[in-house]
């Protein structure tokens, strides 16, 4: 009877350890997925910075400043698109990623 009790207790112990191990592993995988998704959100995570070249931006006040900001953005986008167009085929999809 004592042997059976010991075997059952040991089984519970091993099962408990295994559950803990898998729970930790799943949590780490979830963190990894969140980390990989972060770059797509980066432009919105840095207000006041150019989403492409990270240059500091301030809110334009005059029409000239607005035009300058638009031209700066188009220049940066076209540079980035040109780089993506000349990159390896597997990273070609990057042309659509701002």
């Amino acid at each position: 009877m004592l042997w059976i009790t010991l075997v059952v207790a040991a089984s519970f112990f091993v099962a408990f350890i295994a559950m803990g191990y898998f729970a930790v592993q799943e949590r780490e995988e979830q963190h990894g997925r969140e980390g990989a998704a972060a770059p797509a959100d980066t432009p919105f995570a840095k207000p006041g910075k150019c989403p492409l070249c990270n240059a500091p931006l301030r809110r334009p006040a005059t029409s000239e400043e607005i035009v300058f900001a638009v031209e700066h953005r188009i220049d940066a986008e076209l540079r980035d698109i040109a780089l993506a167009l000349h990159s390896a085929p597997e990273s070609f999809g990057r042309i659509f990623q701002a």
Partner: protein, 160 residues
């Protein structure tokens, strides 16, 4: 460097032999513009196209900002690039405006005379139109990518 060598370095005339380039060089007329000068306006009829020989040309589009229409730069083109290629594509209307951002020297080619050369020398026409399709495709890729990026930003901001 001779005028012919210069011409075959232009994106539109790459791949032409010296003799073929000479045929086209005979049609070119030289244009100069001072910095800031408008070369053409959006919607104008496109009867001739240009190859930038020296300086920088800016293609612009009208942007309404605070109630004012401002010419806003879309792209800068330097030596060897083609300007006003709409002159070779129906309905022969310019779809952007252009201004010289530095002092520029252009080679102007009248469409009717260029098409006559293409009729007499179909190989020249084939080479030039193949190069033109590359120029047009590059613009298409750029514009589609810009548009998709803008749509993606709007979707990401709206449905965050």
């Amino acid at each position: 460097m001779t005028a012919i060598e210069k011409l075959t370095e232009a994106e539109l005339f790459a791949g032409l032999s010296d003799e073929q380039a000479r045929t086209l060089a005979g049609l070119a007329s030289r244009r100069n513009a001072a910095a800031g000068e408008t070369l053409f306006r959006l919607g104008d009829p496109a009867d001739e196209f240009y190859v930038v020989r020296r300086g920088r040309v800016e293609l612009t589009f009208p942007l309404v900002v605070m109630g004012e229409t401002k010419d806003t730069r879309f792209q800068s083109l330097e030596a060897g690039r083609t300007v006003a290629w709409s002159a070779l594509v129906p309905p022969y209307r310019l779809t952007l405006s252009a201004r010289a951002s530095t002092e520029v020297e252009l080679l102007a080619f009248e469409r009717s005379r260029v098409l006559q050369v293409f009729e007499r020398h179909p190989v020249v026409g084939h080479v030039v139109m193949s190069n033109l399709s590359r120029v047009v495709a590059a613009r298409l890729h750029e514009v589609v990518a810009l548009w998709v990026r803008e749509v993606q930003r709007n979707v990401s901001q709206t449905y965050r």
